[in-house]
Symmetry: C2
Subunit: 213 residues, 2 copies
DNA sequence: TGTTGTGAATCTCTTCACAGCT
DNA sequence: AGCTGTGAAGAGATTCACAACA
């Protein structure tokens, strides 16, 4: 099918990831079919939006029963996942890095965190939730050896630019940046910024507005 | 000025928060004036976008020198901050919660994390980076006493809905949700979802696309 | 009746194009 | 010449409205 092989809109990709999580829960509960308005309610969006997203991935439901939960999960998997999965490294094994490792470990998913990196000698060669921590110096070596294609940057802001550059040189394909520092990477590398400070300031702004201050 | 008292677009608020961070760095370096294209470059966006944002907050630069860094910082502060600042509580003092506390502590900012909450008795009444940790049971009491208006949810996903409900009852004004669970809150409460799993899956999708898999 | 699928309209955000200033 | 400020066009995302179907 032509449609599903084209690149999907950003927002649709986000929602598909979220739909899948809830669909898996539904499936576990024994629910076999689901209507667009049920999915919509779980995510606080409109049923039309859900149908539009599902339309974009080229799936069709049945009129009386809605969508087949299992089929939809499988199709989203085909869209979002690669067959062999992608391997992820976390650069910066502080609280945030460890929290991510803990979070992803245990989830059976096509994404697996396979290495951590830190400059702190106390952390090097320790294992956190099953993930070996290497020294920064080994970044390139381990990325190549472990076939890591995605890097999550959770180092202090000052080091972010340096880490990003090294990741790019090491041939990383995608970066998720948790530092508030906007990064400069080659256009071949997909970069997603994830700025917690801005998120909080945004909440503050709208709280302020709502309070009429 | 009428314009600056109206609610700004979501995206503009995000960018203003980011501009400010970099402007503060510029100011610290002794830079007194800045052009739109310089700000743009720092954030990998277009100069027009920057000028549009600045226009929306009702500020004007000078033609030859660009914008006055100090004035712009102050104005963004007037837009984003409240005079007395807002007080924030973190619910769930695990790795992620502690990472946020550590991050915000030390930054002089109008937002301050003033309390943590956890169910784990080992954590209760401990102090993390200057922030006292209370038991969940005291949520309502402390929120009222400490005049907390924003809650950051960093508990395990299963507890998120329960925590959110209690926060709303306690009269919270804004919630930043780090769990992958979409929350249901009253429309008076500003809710910002911040889904790390989805972010990573999005990176994976675009990496996959770029690789042509 | 209640659901899906979708063209068209709407809303939101970004970029173009250029007037105006120094 | 090089910058800002902005109306207007364009692109992207969402919602409306309704045809088609069981």
């Amino acid at each position: 099918m032509v449609i599903s092989s084209k690149t999907l809109p950003d927002k649709t990709v986000e929602r598909l990831s979220q739909y899948r999580r809830n669909l898996l829960i539904c499936l576990a509960k024994g629910k076999q079919h689901i209507f667009s308005h049920e999915i919509a309610q779980l995510h606080h969006i409109t049923p039309v939006q859900v149908r539009r997203d599902i339309m974009l991935i080229g799936y069709s439901g049945t009129l009386r029963k809605g969508y087949d939960v299992k089929e939809l999960i499988d199709l989203i998997g085909k869209i979002l996942d690669t067959d062999e999965g992608l391997r992820v490294g976390v650069i910066g094994v502080g609280n945030l890095g460890r929290s991510l490792i803990g979070y992803f470990n245990g989830k059976r998913s096509k994404l697996s965190i396979v290495a951590g990196f830190d400059a702190n000698p106390d952390k090097v060669d320790k294992v956190y939730a099953g993930v070996h921590c290497y020294h920064f110096d080994k970044l390139s070596e381990i990325i190549a050896r472990e076939n890591i294609s995605i890097g999550i940057i959770t180092v202090p802001a000052e080091q972010a630019a340096d880490v990003a550059e090294k990741l790019v040189i090491a041939g990383i394909k995608g970066i998720l940046n948790f530092t508030p520092k906007p990064l400069n990477v080659s256009p071949h590398v997909y970069l997603q910024e994830y700025d917690m400070v801005t998120s909080l300031e945004k909440v503050a702004y709208f709280v302020k507005k709502q309070a009429g201050i």
